[in-house]
Symmetry: none
Subunit: 473 residues, 2 copies
């Protein structure tokens, strides 16, 4: 007889693996594309599937939460019978990206197929597979022990792929209902398939759009050429002046408030096996960035200012001999620890204004985003639980990594609910998210369920008091 | 009874003014945009209109001339019954610039409308109005006298707005057919509405288009930002580096071969009443250009390098956090006396190549134009006839001026046919050529027809022998 309760839960899950695959295939057959109203039926089908599954697992309080305006509701469910144990808000999303271009899929996007140790379907890695892995861990736990070791609130969003427009309102309107000690997210992705890692931070972001105007209209390059300003020359000068020869951003004060990670964290970063030239070469790019930093530092520790679009003048076939009177640019920043979004925004705007010569009209036409960088506190109990679970599962101490991208969820829940987020997804970043032939490694299912069973167990052994110092509301 | 034959021709023309306006409106309704294949039907409609008009006027030998490859044919017609009189090749072009941006037109670009003494339509000043003015002078002459005072060959080009790619071959293949004593051009423009002037020179031109590529695809600005090149940053650096702080072109050798006009010509230039700040201010621009030269020198004596279009990345609504992998630019140069087009082209390409860092792919995708600057000899009989006609029409001696723009024709016919060109257009340079709301002053129609009737008369009183010293073939 197996007397280790965790081993019994694992055995239950393994015994149910074939049923799990069938369930996954059914969930993936729901065509829940949130961006396109033509898929409304698939969105409803995914909610119905999840409602039935959660009900069968013994969850209660199941309901739809909306932001008070048009949009796809989030699904909520709870299991709150673990008196004295911490409460986790477990996050996932049931919407997926559009399957287009359909002709690039080897097998149909909404019919899960296995090939060479990989399962292919739209949404399998982002985020339906990882969500069902988390739910399967809970199902097995309840099946064996008729209980969970912790209190769980589940929030499954329906608008993650469209930028979560309703989520701020959903959090605001249901702050008490969603109150928890921390968020454990089934979304996100493992950085690499060859490294056991836990993500502890992400960069913030913000964006500006601006236009330059040098004359009332496009001018003939013969009749005016050489004697009036050209909006594209001026835009090129402004954009070129935003970085120096060392690829540093020239905005005064841009780097002033940065809090670089401590020496131990930096030592850990440098210890990570990483071939930057190969990483860039895989997408046909050179390894290039701010002088004095490695590629991982550039991605994790250092901020950026990137031009995402720049245009003006004639773009059609052939030639048009105009001196363009208008030029436009969209720029976004990625921000790191210590940088204050509003201060950066103001500094960038002031710098651009200073770069534009007199007589040329500068207009800022948009201002978007402005979320801070996010970092999980190094001693956060949920981070420690995640590290233990990964160690148990993979037999090696996970490396703490960060991502250069922005996780709106982390910033949002920190602001609205005052709690921290740990991403605990078992998809991997190379699994063609948002692209044709999205896949999930079959091995991720075993690993993921085991890690989830373990982390639930570890959290169950913690006290809510351990979380109190980290709760800001 | 009116016994002055010229006065009778003028009266005939004035009597037909309403018919002329209707004819002009019809011609302008032909959407003859040469640069875009979508307008092929409009190009054919313009040719058909001109063929009917010339046939009705009594011209013969009407035919299309092509360069032997794909392209828009030129239209040819002749009236050669003035034995012993000089033969003029009269030039115009029936193609127009694209009407974009359409939303900036007050009234539709292909529907001529009159407002406040101005006629608005795409191509009305460049070059359909001036062409019909020249033809109307001939029509009235023939209607009254049943003859022309000189021999006329008409060449109406269909590719002027795309740099005349077929014209060299058209001239080569039809050198005998097009043989004449000089070219009298209905293209070009009066410099100012307040100055009677004759143009004696123009700048040459040439264009390049190129692309930069920094990666195989657009990259996520979070996952790659700060650690790989951005094609738009690189393009901005290249474009910004093409001019220095004194607005001089940085291409090595760019200015080396320039032959500046002699002291007398420069003294004439400085004597012309010209308020550069007001001139630029009229189009909402600042007066800005190469250090050490006046605005007139910048326009007439000095070469340029202008970016006509520059683009890459996301231009749509909202934000897209990409690192663009491609950037594109269209540039054109205006060349002055002494500059060798091929040498300039090679120097500009080499300079751009030197500005692009290793690891970034540079591709030149187009190479267009490359015509030399042009100047009419000071005692040329056609120049003298033009000055007489302008004196007769406006009652004041015309000032000799130049233009900063390019007539590919002048350089080409000097090379291929060995003859000189006088531009005798009655549009004015401020009439929004190539831009939205292109217009022609209604008064230019009276003035232009009168001047054309007079110059035809004056040439008819000259002998072909006067032209011999200037014919190089």
């Amino acid at each position: 007889m197996n007397t280790d309760p965790l081993a019994e839960v694992l055995a239950e899950s393994r015994a149910g693996r074939e049923v799990f695959h069938t369930r996954l295939k059914t969930y993936l057959s729901c065509q829940s594309v949130s961006t396109d109203p033509a898929y409304a039926e698939g969105m409803a089908a995914a909610r119905s599937f999840l409602t039935d599954l959660l009900t069968g697992m013994g969850f209660s309080g199941i309901r739809e939460l909306d932001g008070g305006v048009d949009g796809h509701p989030a699904l909520y469910a709870e299991w709150l019978k673990a008196d004295g144990a911490p409460t986790m808000l477990i996050y996932g999303h049931y919407d997926v990206q559009p399957p287009d271009p359909l002709d690039r899929w080897t097998t149909p996007p909404f019919d899960m197929q296995e090939r060479d140790g990989r399962l292919y379907a739209r949404g399998i890695s982002d985020d339906k597979g990882p969500t069902l892995i988390a739910l399967e861990a809970m199902r097995a736990y309840i099946a064996v022990q008729d209980r969970l070791p912790l209190n769980v609130k589940i929030l499954l969003e329906g608008e993650e792929e469209t930028g979560s427009p309703s989520l701020p309102n959903i959090l605001k309107r249901n702050a008490d209902l969603l109150s928890a000690d921390a968020i454990l997210s089934a979304d996100g992705a493992r950085w690499r398939s060859d490294l056991t890692a836990v993500n502890v931070g992400s960069r913030g972001n913000g964006g500006l759009e601006f236009s330059l105007r040098t004359a009332d209209l496009d001018l003939h390059s013969g009749r005016y050429g050489g004697a009036v300003p050209n909006a594209l020359h001026e835009m090129a000068r402004v954009i070129a002046a935003l970085h120096d020869a060392d690829n540093r951003v020239t905005v005064p004060g841009f780097y002033d408030d940065i809090v670089m990670p401590d020496a131990a964290t930096e030592a850990d970063l440098h210890a990570i096996p990483f071939d930057g030239a190969a990483w860039a070469g895989a997408v046909g790019a050179a390894e290039q960035g701010e002088s004095g930093y490695t590629t991982l530092q550039r991605l994790w520790d250092r901020p950026t200012l990137e031009v995402n679009g720049m245009w003006g003048g004639y773009q059609g076939a052939g030639s048009k001999t105009v001196i363009p009177n208008e030029a436009h640019a969209k720029i976004t920043m990625r921000l790191v620890q210590g940088q204050k979004p509003e201060a950066i925004r103001d500094a960038v705007k002031a710098h651009i204004a200073a770069l534009v010569p007199p007589g040329i009209e500068l207009t800022f036409t948009a201002d978007r985003g402005w979320t801070k960088a996010y970092a999980v506190p190094g001693a956060h109990p949920l981070l420690l639980a995640a590290e233990e679970a990964l160690f148990e599962t993979f037999g090696q101490k996970p490396v703490r990594v960060r991502i250069g991208a922005t996780l709106p969820l982390s910033d949002l829940v920190a602001r609205e609910l005052g709690i921290d987020t740990i991403m605990f997804s078992f998809s991997t970043a190379d699994e063609q998210f948002h692209a044709p032939n999205e896949f999930l490694r079959v091995s991720a299912i075993d690993d993921g369920i085991r890690a989830w069973i373990t982390i639930l167990d570890r959290i169950g052994k913690q006290s809510p008091d351990q979380y109190l110092p980290y709760r800001q509301k």
